[in-house]
């Protein structure tokens, strides 16, 4: 029996690399990421500056390493927030049905009717434009779609005979939910959570681009990408490397998420 698929392995390596880079960035970077240098403005990648420098002469590699911390942290907390809240709301809504479901879903649908980024913009105005403001805003913006997916899964699960069997055994509602309903919802939750991680990093970039993200000079991949845009003709590496980081991270997360979903499902074990 293969313990992990090739896709999972690639995803795992990408994510391990990302986490490692962020961790190293905590203690050491090739250059001070904030240090300006007017002699080395917009320098192309070279032996000294592996990934080149930006318009203020700051080292791109160093800034990417620091930015990884912010991006990973924002992505991780946003997804955790949305997953925990969304799953709870979805479970309660799908299991209770009736008017509880009606009210929750009405609010949920109203939230979903706003484009996520617009909702986040509005919320950022309340929370203030900083790292935790972004996490809250994006977390709230993503919760409705998680709630929806979980509710759908719960609605179809609760008609299955093993849920009734649990009731006949005398198990309480909460026990049944945690023991039988929730584990069987894991597949859609994992898939959605991994894609949300990607959305979160992208939205953070978009918000930074609009000037509502983590304020400069602190680097995030998003604001680096945004800052590189005016120089795309002269210094393609300014946009290329942050973009590549985002793309590879998303790829890794998605591959790992799919492998995890299969791994967590006993039915998929032992299959080729």
């Amino acid at each position: 029996m293969k313990t992990f698929s090739l896709n999972g392995l690639i995803g795992g390596i990408l994510i391990a690399f990302l986490v490692l880079t962020a961790a190293i960035g905590l203690v050491w970077t090739p250059f001070d990421p904030m240090k300006l240098s007017f002699t080395a403005k917009l320098a192309a990648p070279s032996a000294a500056h592996l990934l080149g420098t930006d318009e203020f002469g700051r080292d791109v590699l160093s800034r990417l390493m620091i930015g990884a911390q912010a991006s990973v942290w924002i992505g991780f907390l946003t997804v955790s927030f949305a997953t925990i809240c969304g799953t709870l709301i979805g479970l309660v809504s799908g299991y209770a049905r009736g008017w509880v479901d009606g009210v929750i879903m009405a609010v949920n649908n109203a939230l979903m009717a706003f484009p996520g980024i617009l909702l986040a913009l509005g919320l950022l105005a309340v929370f203030g434009a900083n790292q935790y403001g972004i996490i809250f805003a994006l977390g709230i913006a993503y919760t409705p779609s998680m709630a929806r997916v979980v509710r759908g899964a719960v609605l179809s699960l609760r008609e299955r005979e093993f849920i009734e069997a649990s009731r006949v055994m005398g198990n309480g509602e909460i026990f049944t939910m945690v023991r039988h309903v929730l584990p069987n919802c894991l597949a859609p939750i994992t898939v959605l959570a991994t894609s949300m991680f990607g959305w979160a990093i992208l939205s953070e970039s978009a918000l930074s681009f609009l000037g509502l993200g983590v304020p400069p000079p602190a680097p995030t991949w998003g604001n680096m990408l945004a800052a590189g845009r005016p120089f795309i003709q002269q210094a393609v590496w300014l946009g290329l490397f942050p973009g590549l980081c985002i793309a590879l991270t998303l790829l890794g997360i998605n591959l790992l998420g799919d492998a995890l979903r299969d791994r967590l499902d006993p039915r998929m074990r032992g299959l080729k």
């Binding site: 299955r160 093993f162 006949v168 006993p266 074990r269 032992g270």
Partner: protein, 542 residues
């Protein structure tokens, strides 16, 4: 028979294209025109694949490895797509098992029936319409004009299977292939549909290839039968010969697996009943919408039933009779609107904890009644979670013992449900239900989803356990054969009411109600002979 052979299969083998694994192995048979021919086998015997090959409708993963199929002297395997299309429908008709999915749900019945006529005949629209109406009348649709502009979901399962039959017979095919045509229907409707099929095909001179796992049903209508096991034909012969003097061990096993009447048991009926249900009424609320509330549908109209200590009471009836609702109401899964349920002399709801400990349930579908994410041991252990005065070690020991009792040794403990066969899963479900040593068990169609030989084993297991622990049981089933084997008393339901009840032998030998007689006419009485064969006697044969 050589002169009027319609279809001839010679040495047909089918294999999985990718692995070369043989799924059907060297089968040969002939069907004469106008004959009714049967193929009997359990799931996995290859009977469905073999018949799909006859009209080149194999799934893409399966291919013909060797052999020949000739229809009226033409080699079917050598036909091109266009020739095959003219063969299918016009010459060879097909009726599938699932009447729910074999009709297009978003198309009027009339349009669907007309499709075949447009493709295969040159009739004018008026002639087509007349022919469709005539056929709908012949299959017993009460309002044929109305049916033309109705959707499939407006009809019951039995009616849909009649419409399916009508759509196939409209083209007057020379051969009708019916693959488990009545398996999804309840016993009474099963018989009606089969009678109709035989009557129609006889009138048109159509030969029938009837495929089923249900040996008595096939035997009733066919003149010759082949028995398939694991892709091969193990026995081939005239129906009576095959039943009365089976040669192959597998055929003998199939015959001995048919339900038989169990020995009568003594149940003490003088004591107060253990479970007593009085005048229970259950309404299913109508669908609420913004402006109106649909009327509630009454599922049970004041039903009363008693179950004594150690007694097995069978609840029988067709689909929609309310038998499942009654079982679920007694189990506490459905709330009764009126009436009272008493357990061991007290109102059930007075001591819910005690009732929950003592009333357990076995469900019909072993594929959906076990949580797919739990191991077998965890599933059984969960049933002991709320049992007081048992420590963790004792619970584990009891779980393993219970698994042992249902015939699953310790090596199964760490497996997951999907690794088990249907019969094994149902054993796990039974283990879970009896682990608490309940006084009362509700079994809702516990063996309906199982193959014939597996069903016999599970029924034996059930009887053994019942003898050992002496629990009372409400056994819900539409299959009277099974009921005859296990029940002490039989309660017949129709349209949410109990219409007849009595001792098992009394109900089976001298039923009073017409509906009970119709239920009974669907199953044979068996006469086992010394050679391992049986003679089937059909009750109330008209």
């Amino acid at each position: 028979m050589t002169t009027d052979t319609l279809l001839s299969v010679r040495g047909l083998s089918l294999e999985v294209a990718r692995t070369g694994h043989k799924v059907v192995n060297d089968i040969s048979f002939d069907i004469a025109s106008g004959e009714i021919f049967g193929i009997v086998g359990e799931s996995g015997s290859g009977k469905t694949l073999a018949t799909r090959a006859l009209i080149s409708l194999l799934p893409p993963a399966i291919r013909v490895a060797s052999g020949s199929i000739s229809y009226r002297g033409r080699d079917v395997l050598g036909l091109n797509a266009k020739q095959l299309r003219s063969l299918r429908g016009a010459e060879i008709g097909l009726v599938f098992q699932e009447p729910m999915t074999s009709l297009n749900p978003s198309m009027f019945i009339g349009r669907q029936l007309e499709e075949g006529l447009i493709l295969h005949t040159k009739l004018s629209p008026e002639e087509r319409g007349a022919r469709i109406l005539d056929m709908l009348r012949r299959v017993g649709i009460s309002d044929p004009e109305g049916a033309l502009v109705a959707y499939p979901h407006e009809f019951s399962g039995g009616m849909r299977q009649r419409i399916m039959l009508a759509s196939v017979m409209l083209l007057k095919p020379a051969l009708l292939i019916a693959d488990e045509p009545t398996t999804a229907l309840d016993a009474v409707i099963q018989r009606d549909v089969m009678e109709l099929m035989v009557e129609l095909t006889r009138a048109e001179g159509t030969a029938v290839l009837l495929i089923s796992h249900d040996l008595p049903m096939v035997a009733r209508y066919t003149s010759r039968i082949v028995v398939m096991e694991k892709g091969s034909i193990v026995e081939h012969g005239r129906t009576e010969d095959l039943l009365e003097a089976p040669q192959h061990p597998y055929t003998k096993k199939l015959l001995s697996s048919l339900p038989f009447r169990g020995a009568p048991r003594v149940v003490d009926m003088t004591k107060a009943p253990m479970v007593s249900v009085r005048n229970v009424v259950v309404d299913y609320p109508g669908r609420k919408s913004l402006f109106r509330k649909a009327k509630a549908k009454r599922a049970l109209h004041g039903v009363s039933i008693d179950i004594h200590e150690g007694e097995v009471v069978a609840l029988v009836g067709g689909s929609g009779s309310g038998k499942t609702t009654l079982g679920r109401t007694i189990a506490g899964l459905v709330k009764e609107n009126e009436g009272e349920i008493r357990f061991q002399g007290r109102a059930r709801d007075d001591d819910w904890q005690d009732y929950r400990m003592n009333c357990q349930m076995v469900f019909q579908d072993p594929y959906s009644s076990l949580d797919p994410r739990m191991t077998i041991l965890a599933l059984v252990e969960e049933a002991l979670r709320l049992v007081p005065n048992l420590d963790a070690a004792a619970k584990r020991k009891r779980s393993l013992e219970t698994l042992e009792e249902v015939g699953l040794d310790a090596s199964y403990a760490s497996r997951y449900p999907h690794e088990l066969s249907g019969g094994q899963r149902q054993r796990v479900a039974i283990a879970r239900a009896i682990a608490r040593r309940p006084r009362f068990l509700i079994a809702d169609e516990p063996v309906s989803a199982l193959d014939v030989t597996v069903r016999a084993q599970v029924l034996d297991l059930f009887s053994d356990l019942q003898k050992r622990y002496g629990f009372s049981c409400l056994f819900i089933s539409h299959d009277l054969g099974v009921v005859e084997q296990v029940a002490d008393r039989v309660v017949v339901m129709q349209d949410g009411r109990i219409i007849e009840e009595g001792d098992r032998n009394a109900i089976f030998d001298s039923p009073k109600e017409t509906y009970t007689r119709r239920l009974l006419s669907a199953i044979p009485a068996l006469d086992h002979n010394a050679t391992g064969g049986v003679t089937l006697k059909w009750r109330f044969e008209s």
